[in-house]
Symmetry: C2
Subunit: 345 residues, 2 copies
Amino acid sequence: MPSKSSLPTISDVAQRAGVSIATVSRVINGNTPVVAETAQRVRLAIKELKFVPRAAAQVLASRKTNTIGLVFSEIRGAFFPHLLKGIEAELHSSGYELLIYSTHSDHPIQRKPIGEHNTDGLLVFTTSLELEELERLYGINFPLVLMHETPPQGMEIPVITIENKDGAVMLVSHLIEKHGRRRIVFLRGPEGHEDSEWRERGYREALEAHKIVYDEGLIARGEFDEDSAFEEMQKLMAAGIEFDAVFAGDDDAAIGVYRALKMANRIIPDDVAVVGFDDVQFARYISPGLTTIRAPIEEVGREAVRQLICLLNGEQAQRLVLMRTELVIRESCGCQNKGGGERDL
Amino acid sequence: MPSKSSLPTISDVAQRAGVSIATVSRVINGNTPVVAETAQRVRLAIKELKFVPRAAAQVLASRKTNTIGLVFSEIRGAFFPHLLKGIEAELHSSGYELLIYSTHSDHPIQRKPIGEHNTDGLLVFTTSLELEELERLYGINFPLVLMHETPPQGMEIPVITIENKDGAVMLVSHLIEKHGRRRIVFLRGPEGHEDSEWRERGYREALEAHKIVYDEGLIARGEFDEDSAFEEMQKLMAAGIEFDAVFAGDDDAAIGVYRALKMANRIIPDDVAVVGFDDVQFARYISPGLTTIRAPIEEVGREAVRQLICLLNGEQAQRLVLMRTELVIRESCGCQNKGGGERDL
DNA sequence: CGGCATGATGTAAGCGCTTTCAGAAAGCGC
DNA sequence: GCGCTTTCTGAAAGCGCTTACATCATGCCG
C-alpha cells in the first residue's frame, strides 16, 4: 500500500507503458492522435497504477482551472437549494467543477478565497461580492455572470434575473381586484437588494393603476427572512396601523408574517391577506397555502451557467436574461384554490 | 488595464519591491521571519500590482490544496441546506475552501471530479461515493470523514452520525403510549441507507417493548422523498391495509404521506397519526404541525469538519461521533402542542 | 529510387509558486 | 579584533503537468 507521499505521477505511467510523458498526457487529454495500440497500453498502465492526474499541475500548465465559482451570501433561506440545483445540473453536463464560497461578513478574509487564481469564471449572487473586488475582476477581464443584480455603472456584465416588477404587480393587483384590499403592507427586503427594489416598484405601480394612494406608513423594512418579518409585523400592529393585506417581500418573510398574525389572532386571509414571492418548497405546505409568485430560481441557475460558459468559450453572452414569473394562487389571499396546485397539501 | 494574459506574478512583485521571489513568498505565507521594513515594501508592491497568488502554483509547490471536498448525492431534500450551513461555518473559521461535488448517477464520470488531486480531504455523505473509490482513497491514506454511514469492513474512517435508533424508539413509543396507536406503518428510506436501517431497528424495538407483533405488511419502501412516499401510501390504502399511524422515515416523506392522506380524506391525526424525522424547516409550518425528531444536522456538518481537520493536522480523530436526537412534539401525532415550539405557526 | 509531405512520438521548456540550502550581515564573548 | 552563532535573504531546484518544436519513420509522387 503506497503511502501518500508516493502517489504515481505521469512519469510512472510513462515508464510502465514504455512511452514518453507527452504521450501519456496526450491519451489523457485526447486532443492529439495516438496510435490505438499505444493508447491502450497507456490506459492499462493508468489503471494498474491507479493514476489520477494532479489537478494543480494540470491547471498550472494549461492555465485553465476547469472549475467555476459561486459566490453567495445567504445559505440560509429556502431559496438556495433551488438555485444550487440548477447550477449543479447545468455544470455537470459541461464538465466543470463547482467551487462555492459564501461570504459571511463576520470573518475577515485574509487570502482571497475565490477569484481568477482558482476558477475560470464566477457566478455572483446579488451583492455577495464587494464592489472593489468586482471591479478588480472586471478590470482583468475575468468571466463574470451576475444573478439578481445589475452591474454597477460602466461595467458590462451579463445578468440573469427575474421579472420582479411584473410579479409584484400581479400579486398586488390580484389583492386589489379579486379581494378588494386597499391597505396593503409591503414588507421590503434589505437595503440595496435589487429584487426588493423592483418588487417595491411593482407594488407602487399596481397601487397607482388602481388609484390607491401610496402610504409610506404601510412600508416595513425587513431582511427577506422570517425573524425580521416577524418583528416588523409586531411593530406595525403595536403602532396601531391598519391594514387588510401584506405583501411579504419573499416567502421566507411570509412565514414571519404568518407567525405574527396568528399570534395576534388575526385570521389569514379573512382579516389579513398575505402573499409572498418565490414559491419555495414550503409555500404550498403552510396553512393557509401561500399565494405567491413562482420565480424560476432553478432556471436562473441553469441560465447563469450557460451564459458563463459562453463567456468561457470566448463567445458573446447575453447582456440580460429576464425570466418570466407566474402568479400561483393558493388560499392566503382569500381564494379557494380551485384547481391548480394539485400537489398542495 | 492589463489583459488577462499578463496578470502579475510573484516575480513582478519581487522586482517592484527590490527583493527576491523567495522573500515575497515569505511575507505572503508569514512562516519565516522577514524584517519589518522589507515586508512592508513587499506588501505595498502586492497592493499596487493587485497581485493574487495563483492557487494552482501554490498547491503544486506546497503539495497542499487548502480545500476540502464534500461529496453529496441529494441536493434536493430539505436536509441539505442545514448540513451545508454547518460545514461552511466551521470551514471558514479554519481557512479551508470548499469544493462540492454532487454525484448524479445520470452522468458517467470521465475525469475523477474530486479526490486527492484537488482536495486535502473529503467529507462523504451517506453512500454518495462508490465503494471502489472509497477503497482507493482509503488505500492511499487520504483523509476521509463519513457522515451518516459506517465505513465498510476493515476500514477505519471516522463517522459522524445521529441517534437514529433512539429517535425512532421515542417516536414510536410516543405513538403507542400517548395515543394508543398499534398499527403503525413504517415508510422506509432507500435500500442500504443507513439512517433508514437504524430507524427501522428502532421501530421494531419499540413495538417489541410494547408487545406489539411486527407486521411485514405495514412496511413500505420509499426513497426519503415526497413522491415515492405519496405513491407508497396510495398503494397501501388501495390494498386495503389498515393502520392508525405512519412513521414517515423522514420529513420529506412525511409531506408525501400528508398529501396521500388528505387526498383520501383521512384526518391527521384523528384517523391517522403521522410522524417524521429530521425536523427540517417546513416541519413546523405544515398543518398539522409535524411531530418529528430533531436531528442536529447542522452540528453534524460542523463536527465532520472538525474531525477532518484533526486528520489533516495529523492528529487522531474520533472513530465515531453520535449526535443526540430529540423528540419534537407538534400536532400530527395527536398532541395539542402545549408549550414547546413557540415558533410554530 | 530520391525527395518530401505526413503523422506519431519524444524532448525540453516552461507554468508560478515553495522550500532547501548556502551565503551575507550582524551580534556576541573573549 | 577574531571566530562563533544567529538572522535574514537570495539562488536554484523542483512540484507534475502541457505543449511547441524537433525527430523519425513512413508512404507517396514523379
